[in-house]
Amino acid sequence: MPILSLNKVVKQYSNHLAVNHVSFNVEKQKIFGLLGPNGAGKTSLIRIITTITGADEGEILIDGEKLNSRHPQQIGYMPEERGLYKKMKVGEQLMYLAQLKGLSKDEAKSKISHWLKKFEITDWWDKRIEELSKGMQQKIQFIATVVHEPKLIILDEPFSGLDPINTNLIKSEIRQLKENGTSIIFSTHRMEQVEEICEDIVLINQGKLILEGNVSEIKQSFKENKYKITFASDRPDFSNYKVVGESNNSATIQLQEGEKANDLLKYLVQTGTPIIGFNEILPSLNEIFIQKVENN
């Protein structure tokens, strides 16, 4: 059973349709990418899932159960535009947010200590938020999102504003949470991160779902039979093939109907070209993204 299941969800604002009959499933223990250009309706969708707003139509199931007011306690949400109470101390703040999620005082305390220890910031308990740098605040924000051990975590652009070290730290935490059974929805328009982390994705544009599936399957389905050949000598003769890209010691060939990669390789071996590399070029998600959005 999927952790989250959307069925024909609609959200209408006064002058535009923010979410237009969107349906998809998020499987348990997966890292799921919710993609789309700015203003596509990602945040509207997330706000519906987190019960911040309600859908006008459609059905939302969390773990098979209709979305209701108890579910927010099982969801951890880190919005894109995030903030904390600047004057509050780190400890107080986390205690407050954890208790709002239904943890008892003792539970909250022990879980927060656990996370502070994990991030090696135990001495921050009494620091005011305004004393922390932006990256440090992000860490606190992340702890606030996961401290109540939600079944489903929704991260909206979690790496924006983070330096590479903290980005890696959060990435490895996300993976670890997944290993421990948590399902994660990861909303972004940064495609290289999606390729790296996500297993399944949906692509939304202008409120509509335009692409969904497993990342490697999608890439396979969008492949254009391109191969990059790298060689150590002069350029061999490619007159029988369609060359779509070229540089000093490499060429990209797009195979046509009936042509096979093995035949191309055989031909190159016959010409005696010293081959250093032979790779299939899969389209990047970025290319697929741009192609899909522009065609839409």
């Binding site: 987190t50 309600g54 859908a55 927010p72 969801i75 995030r82 903030g83 509050m88 947010l97």
Partner: protein, 449 residues
């Protein structure tokens, strides 16, 4: 319910623990105390600097009476006027007064000249005028051959008292009718004014606090995290109640500290000023007669205060206190949610909230003049003005049915405005970078879910 309590607790503790809260709570009574001492000191010393007055009296009437004044010293000279004008200053006099020899003393209006290097205040001029006039009056009484005692018996002083009040107090009956003696009307007016004014302050100070707090959460962007855990209306309600608790704490502290400080200041001031001097000052001001001052008997005042219908006043005031705060802070929360980072742009949204409060405050003055008039009745029933107008009427025994209807309307309005504000709030807190108009707010109210 549990989360609501958490929100209330946070909103309350965050504010109460702030240095600025502690400082304001403690400094306000101290400032009031200092103000009392300072103003008493200034009135006694600075406001009325004693003046040396040199009088050239050609009529011989003023100079022949015994002039008694605590503030001014009068001295007389017979030297020619032009010489005196030249050197009265050198003789260390502040004012030179020239009384010519009036031709017809039976006239009731005469002109007297004064010379002074600095501009004299109205009260100084009036004080000197009164002294000269009373000297002439004494002189005329003496000339007319009327006995002093006969003249004194001409003076009349009528007190218009409430017949029912005398009747009631005679029968030891402390029902509804016995609080309308003149003194009790004065006390009622003061009490009504104070209660109305407290409401006015509470609405602006603590309502404004709720508004700022909502704006802060919106600008901080924490609000989205919070409302992914609790319902927006719950957050709003928690905020209103939490800040309300802060208000109660602060007012409670002031209720204890301000009287203490005032009494303390009274002791300090009491030692410094002289009752006779105070009387002369008030005579000059012309507002309170000496008789009035004598009648201002502390025991009487205390008796009248204890005769007030406190069983009605206290609970009803508390109901209107909470109701008024709740209605207005809900509205302020709604406006705060609609405002963005740009406070100036949102200012126009505040006008419709401030208008009824200011209107009510103005209506309150009229209500105190005529506590059972049409405006007073309307103002004390209409829920946006009743939190200010009804408390100001309470000391005048408004009909109970009016109080009852007003409370019912107030409670219904609390519910209505909380609902209305909640509708605006839940949309407003997530709306960024949009200039909000009233038309827009109306749309938000209609939004689903």
């Amino acid at each position: 319910m549990n989360t609501l309590w958490l929100i209330i607790k946070r909103e309350y503790l965050v504010r109460v623990k702030k240095k600025s809260f502690i400082i304001t709570t403690l400094l306000t009574p101290i400032a009031i105390g200092l103000l009392i001492i300072l103003s008493a000191f200034l009135t006694a010393k600075g406001g009325q600097v004693s003046k040396n007055v040199l009088v050239k009296d050609d009529s011989q009437i003023f100079s022949s009476t015994k002039v008694d004044s605590k503030l001014f010293t009068y001295e007389f000279s017979k030297a020619p006027l032009d010489r005196l004008i030249e050197d009265y200053k050198a003789q260390s006099f502040d004012i030179l007064v020239y009384i010519p020899n009036f031709e017809d003393i039976s006239q009731t209006k005469h002109n007297v000249q004064y010379y002074s290097q600095e501009k004299l205040s109205i009260s100084t001029i009036e004080s000197i005028e009164n002294k000269i006039a009373s000297a002439f009056k004494e002189y005329k009484i003496g000339q007319s051959g009327i006995e002093r005692s006969v003249y004194d018996s001409f003076k009349m002083n009528i007190d218009l008292e409430n017949g029912a009040a005398n009747l009631a107090s005679g029968e030891e009956n402390k029902g509804f009718e016995d609080t309308s003696s003149k003194l009790s009307i004065k006390i009622g007016t003061a009490l009504g004014g104070v209660m109305g004014f407290i409401m006015y302050l509470v609405i602006f100070i603590y309502g404004g606090m709720v508004m700022r707090s909502v704006m802060e959460e919106k600008i901080n962007r924490i609000v989205e995290v919070i409302i992914s855990s609790v319902k927006p209306t719950q957050l709003m309600l928690g905020k209103i109640l939490g800040v309300g608790g802060v208000g109660l704490t602060q007012l409670g502290m002031w209720l204890i500290l301000i009287p203490l400080v005032t009494i303390g200041a009274g002791f300090i001031v009491g030692g410094a000023t002289d009752v006779a001097q105070l009387q002369e000052l008030s005579n000059q001001a012309g507002s309170i007669s000496a008789e009035d001052l004598n009648k201002f008997d502390f025991a009487n005042v205390m008796r009248e205060i204890s005769n007030m219908n406190w069983i009605l006043i206290i609970p009803v005031f508390i109901i209107f206190f909470f109701g008024g705060y709740f209605i207005y802070s809900s509205l302020f929360a709604a406006i705060g949610s609609a405002m963005g980072d740009d406070m100036g742009e949102g200012q126009q949204l505040m006008i419709p909230i401030m208008l009824p409060v200011i209107l009510a405050f103005i209506m309150m003055q009229g209500t105190l003049q005529n506590p059972n008039g049409g405006m007073a009745i309307f103002g004390s029933l209409f829920p946006l003005t009743s939190p200010i107008i009804m408390p100001s009427r309470l000391a005048f025994d408004p009909p109970l049915w009016q109080v009852g209807i007003s409370i019912v309307l107030l409670i219904l309005s609390c519910w209505f405005f909380a609902w209305l504000a909640g509708r605006i709030y839940r949309v407003g807190i997530l709306m960024y970078g949009k200039k909000v108009s009233f038309k827009e707010l109306a749309k938000w109210i209609a939004y689903k879910g």
